[in-house]
């Protein structure tokens, strides 16, 4: 599904990712763990098409060159990024945003756009699953939401848009145990043989709830070790320094 080969990324001539390679097949859950400044967020930004990076190498998503696609086209093709810091968008109603987003993606996929009633039915169902306060759907997008609510809103969006590849950028940071479980449940519900996940995190904790197939340790812009879930436990015990 996703094939990253020899990706190099610079910001203002500072090298962030160095010869980074990774393969994700349909149905797989990959976790990338790394200390601050190792390049985790850069990776998720580049996959979503954020501007401002000088890149070389190749990223193929379902055999298409990702660098040829604009941010919104990547979303249409099924890439979703759950933001580490979801943005507050004043004056934009959460429901209207969700409906605009869902219908933009449905339209691009050649599916019928949902009308207001169909949309509300779906969003209410999904909100209930995620124990997301329905009243918040009528509020301005993320404005005045707590950290946990913002993250849950990301998972709600993910679950509405049903992407093929979901990238979760430190979704666990700032979450209490209950919210963490809800977020993990959301991911586990969406998990199937066709959908893949790339979970970026500092800690092993989230991986107790979402069992990854592969764990990679990212340091200084490079994957220095890959393994199964046991690698996360080892990392938690020994710390990042011991891997250096």
């Amino acid at each position: 599904m996703l094939k990253i080969s020899n990706l190099n990324a610079n910001v203002e001539n500072k090298s962030i990712l160095k010869d980074f390679s990774l393969n994700i097949n349909p149905g797989e859950v990959h976790a990338i763990m790394g200390p601050n400044g190792s390049g985790k967020s850069t990776l998720s930004n580049i996959l979503s098409g954020k501007k401002g990076y000088q890149v070389s190498g190749e990223i193929l998503f379902e055999n298409k060159n990702l660098f040829d696609l604009e941010t919104e086209e990547r979303a249409h093709k099924g890439i979703f990024l759950a933001f580490q810091y979801p943005l507050e968008i004043p004056g934009v109603n959460t429901n209207i945003f969700l409906k605009t987003s869902l219908n933009a993606i449905r339209k691009a996929r050649g599916e019928k756009e949902l009308d207001a009633i169909e949309f509300l039915k779906l969003v209410k169902e999904k909100a209930k699953e995620l124990k997301f306060d329905e009243e918040k759907l009528n509020r301005q997008l993320n404005v005045g939401f707590s950290g946990g609510e913002k993250k849950k809103n990301e998972i709600l969006q993910m679950s509405m848009l049903a992407p093929k590849l979901s990238i979760l950028d430190e979704t666990d940071s700032g979450l209490d145990i209950d919210a963490l479980k809800i977020v993990a449940d959301g991911v586990n519900t969406l998990r199937n043989d066709d959908n893949s996940f790339l979970i970026i995190t500092h800690y092993q904790r989230l991986l107790d709830y979402i069992k990854p197939d592969f764990v990679h340790v990212l340091m200084n812009g490079k994957i220095i070790r890959s393994g199964g879930p046991e690698l996360a436990i080892e990392l938690e015990k020994k710390g990042y320094e011991s891997f250096n």
Binding site: S48, G49, K50, K51, E70, T71, E72, R74, A75, H76, F80, L81, F83, P86, L87, I89, P90, G91, V92, N93, I96, F97, T100, S101, L102, A104, I105, A108, Q140, L141, Q157, L161
Partner: protein, 415 residues
Amino acid sequence: MSEQLQSDFDKLVKTSKFSNEEIQFKKNYLDNFIKKGFPNRKQEDWKFLDISQIIKKNISDLSYFNDYSKSNKIDPSIFVDGLEHNKIIFINGRIEKIDFNFEDQNKIEIINETKKDISFDYENSLIDLNSALTDKVLKVLVKKDYSLKKPLIIYHSTSDKIKSTNINLRLDFELGENSCLKLIDCFGYSTARSFINIFYNFNLEKGSILKNYKIDKFRNNNLKYSFNNIEQDNNSVSETFILSAGSDYFKNEINCNLNGEYSSAFINGIFSLKENQQHEIRTTINHLVENTKSYQLIKSVLGKNSKSAYQGRIFVNSKAQKTDGYQLSKAILLDETSEFNAKPELEIYADDVKCSHGSASGSLDENSIFYLMSRGLNYQQSKELLINGFLMDVVEKITDVEIKNLITNIIGLKQ
């Protein structure tokens, strides 16, 4: 200018039925104006947008004579749909229709006056011009305890029959105790270039509520100046909303005197400007007694070569303890040639007050655009949604739901 003005004034006198006393009264104002001339950038209040230069550039020499003895045809297509309302229709500065059919006729009084003094100190020469050249001063009196059932819409339109390049009009409103008036000003969209000078004087008695919505939406070549003077007694509330978007030039000026305790004033405004438009809002809120409140929120979205200015003055005199005054302005500059000017002025002589001001301007937030695009919206959609949200914040302040919906539709925002 003065020769043209003098001869146009003489024509006005000839075609009108003014008494000698009225003529003398108007002549004094004319002399004042001729002495002062149009305001220009040397005056602090006019330093951002110099009206004398703008008139010179757009119209060159103004002509002032309108024949108010002849009526103009009303074009019903200008009427606002989907909202039942009372009407006052101005065409070329002449009152063509007054219609309060939705109201209890015993509760409203319409009075025509010619000789109407200015009850406050001013330096502004446009008020002199207005007083010299207006045909009639229409006074709308809402009696004690009466709330108008429907809003009043004042249509300001011009037709191609217009003779002059200057229109002056004046309305006075007297809101009796615990009465309520919702007033919408709809500005027309003629292509004729004229300078329109509007003066409203409001007197709000105890517990009365005024809601004034000024809607200048459709692109037109007019240069407009509107001045609202609002006097407020105890517990009265004034809410002003300004959509400043259509005219080539528009300056809205509001002077509000909070004379009575627990009176409050709310002013919210939107500038949505495109190529070469120049708009300004200038407010003066005078907190003159204890426990008064004012709130102002002004937002701008500025396209190429457009310019907006917001000058907000909050004055708190030494008696006005427990004053609560707030003003905030924000601007999105869509092009490097767009310009926003903010000049907050706080003059405070009391020591137990809460007053704050803030101003911020910048381009659209690229991170927010990235967030929206990562959800499948294209750049244009993301930009529109952000601007929509930015402005909706101001529209949300409108306390009347029906009018809020109307204005949301007129602006083309999504709720």
